[in-house]
């Protein structure tokens, strides 16, 4: 059957085309800096993390206990006025064992793989996960459904950040 697809252009380059000087390049790099205000709800979340506690907001209409805490419930679209402490334990909803840095470079031979996970926090509504890291665990041993507990930085080192929790380790 005749292929009548219309294709034009998109000329592939090889590394040699560039190395040999056949193709010119111009280069630049950007150094962007930001300082983000943490907002009404998350500011309290961070303040509580600094104290070694996890706090959620509760919607009085749908009764969800939500993490991270919110100024408003995105489903009911009403303010979340109730604060509620939740546990610093949870269940691994899913995880990965990552051998790649953020810029796609590979981790070094003596560097450990990164262990991101979605953790459903005990005391929050079902399915209410946060992204965090796992630690003190053999990657081969990680299972979905595993119970984990937060490992906090020493109080003096906490800054009011999600990384005041170093990682979650198996219970």
């Amino acid at each position: 059957m005749e292929d009548t697809i219309k294709v034009a252009g998109g000329t592939g380059l090889t590394a040699d085309d560039i190395k040999s000087g056949k193709i010119f390049l111009t280069e630049d790099s950007l150094d962007c800096a930001y300082a983000w205000d943490t907002g009404v709800a998350v500011n309290r979340y961070l303040a509580e993390l600094k104290q070694g506690k996890i706090i959620a907001t509760r919607c009085k209409k749908c009764k969800r206990t939500m993490l991270p805490p919110r100024l408003f419930c995105e489903l009911c679209f009403i303010p979340c006025s109730n604060w509620q402490y939740v546990q610093d334990t949870g269940i691994v909803n899913t995880f990965s064992i990552c051998h790649v840095h953020w810029d796609a470079t590979r981790i070094g031979k003596d560097e450990k793989p990164h262990l991101p996970a979605v953790i459903e926090i005990d005391g929050a509504s079902e399915g209410m996960g946060i992204m965090h890291l796992l630690g003190e665990v053999d990657p081969e041993e990680i299972k979905i459904g595993m119970q984990v507990k937060a490992v906090w930085k020493p109080e003096a080192e906490r800054t009011g950040s999600i990384i005041d929790i170093k990682y979650f380790k198996p219970l």
């Binding site: 059957m1 998109g10 592939g12 990965s96 990384i163």
Partner: protein
């Protein structure tokens, strides 16, 4: 009252790892070949709907404005849409509005992506997709979310890495027959499973490549379409949806955003039983598992039964519901925004019987294309028919 809208022309550049051409030049090449495909010139185009994904890839703020000359947008009503990987089909939906509303008789939809300029790797620029306060301090990378989703999806239904690899093998095999494909080599399940482990369960060949390229379609009102061609391909339904940005609070095993978007498009198209009424499907496949995940969201396969159907050949070119006959992102390439539009081009060619060696047998009369993006939360869906 909405007017009928047809696709009357389609075209694209080759997808390549690194293109000589600039974004503007790639846009021009796809635009020009599309106009030529239906015998029109820029004077016949009333307006432009264009798309390109993150500005950060190009290091050009407001990249849409930079592209405008290549899209034929000079001095015309021109509007860019951007929903990450969803852009390529969302731009078609956007163009559909322009013509369906009655405001314009023709609309050129052009999507372009040049990922190779970003150093050391385009993936780095997705870092800024994560919540700046509650997630970024964890130093996440884009692969994490796909790996987390793939793992959850596989666990839920007991699918294996070998099962997922079958999609990469099949799509890449289809792509070998696509004249714009970036690839020339066949891969096997063993190749995929044994390729470098990047972020368990994601191995390197589970992932589509980094690409440069552009693709375009020309949309026309019924009056103009009937004059231009005796084989118009009608846009019968469009749908789109954005799920919550609190992505860790959705259960990742099911793409709710795709479900919502698909139902919207099927309702508009009057489709009640999509698995019977759709003859060819182009679900978004930046990762092999994603094609299956999206087929379930598109209501084209029962949840948890998709691997069984895949193994039975149900989604082969000569199966009951051919999936990604183009080769998809895994088999043709993945210049983000352009990849979605490429899928609409494919349906146009398939429904006109012009897909050459990739032609789905039995004169397919109805197809669906879907793209996905943002923080794993958007789907855009287009249903076409003749």
């Amino acid at each position: 009252m909405m007017r009928k809208v047809a696709i009357v022309g389609a075209g694209m550049t080759s997808f390549v790892r690194r293109a000589l051409e600039t974004p503007k030049e790639l846009s021009y090449q796809a635009t020009k070949v599309t106009l030529d495909s239906c015998g029109l010139t820029l004077d016949d185009v009333d307006c432009i709907a264009h798309g390109t994904a993150p500005d950060a890839f190009d290091g050009l703020h407001q990249n849409g404005e930079y592209m405008v000359d290549g899209c034929g947008g000079w001095n015309k009503p021109t509007m860019r849409v951007y929903v990450g990987g969803g852009t390529g089909i969302h731009a078609v939906v956007h163009g559909w509005h322009h013509v369906a509303s009655g405001l314009f008789d023709t609309c050129l939809v052009v999507c372009e992506e040049k990922m190779s300029s970003a150093l050391p790797h385009a993936q780095a620029f997705f870092l800024t997709i994560f919540d700046s306060i509650t997630e970024r301090p964890l130093e996440p990378n884009l692969l994490w979310i796909f790996a987390l989703e793939m793992n959850r999806y596989m666990e839920r239904y007991g699918y294996t890495k070998e099962d997922m690899a079958l999609v990469a093998v099949k799509n890449k095999q289809n792509g070998l027959k696509h004249p714009a494909s970036q690839f020339s080599e066949k891969v096997t399940v063993e190749d995929v499973v044994n390729s470098e482990m990047m972020a368990y369960p994601v191995s390197r060949l589970d992932v589509s490549p980094v690409s440069d390229g552009a693709a375009a379609v020309l949309l026309a009102s019924e009056r103009v379409a009937r004059r231009l061609t005796d084989k118009p391909v009608w846009i019968e339904g469009v749908g789109w949806s954005l799920d919550t940005a609190y992505w860790a609070t959705r259960d990742l095993y099911y793409p709710r955003y795709t479900d919502t978007a698909a139902r919207m498009a099927y309702d508009m198209a009057g489709i009640r039983e999509p698995d019977k009424e759709i003859h060819v499907a182009e679900p978004y496949d930046p990762f092999d598992y994603k094609a299956l995940h999206h087929l379930e969201g598109l209501q084209l396969s029962p949840r948890g039964k998709t691997v069984e159907l895949l193994r039975d050949g149900h989604f082969d070119i000569d199966g009951n519901l051919p999936m990604c006959p183009s080769g998809g992102l895994l088999g043709v390439g993945n210049p983000i925004a352009a990849a979605g539009t490429m899928k609409v081009c494919e349906l146009f060619w398939q429904l006109r019987g012009e897909a050459g060696q990739r032609q789905v047998p039995g004169n397919p009369r109805r197809g669906v294309a879907q793209s996905w993006g943002d923080l794993m939360q958007v789907s855009s869906v287009v249903v076409v028919g003749n």
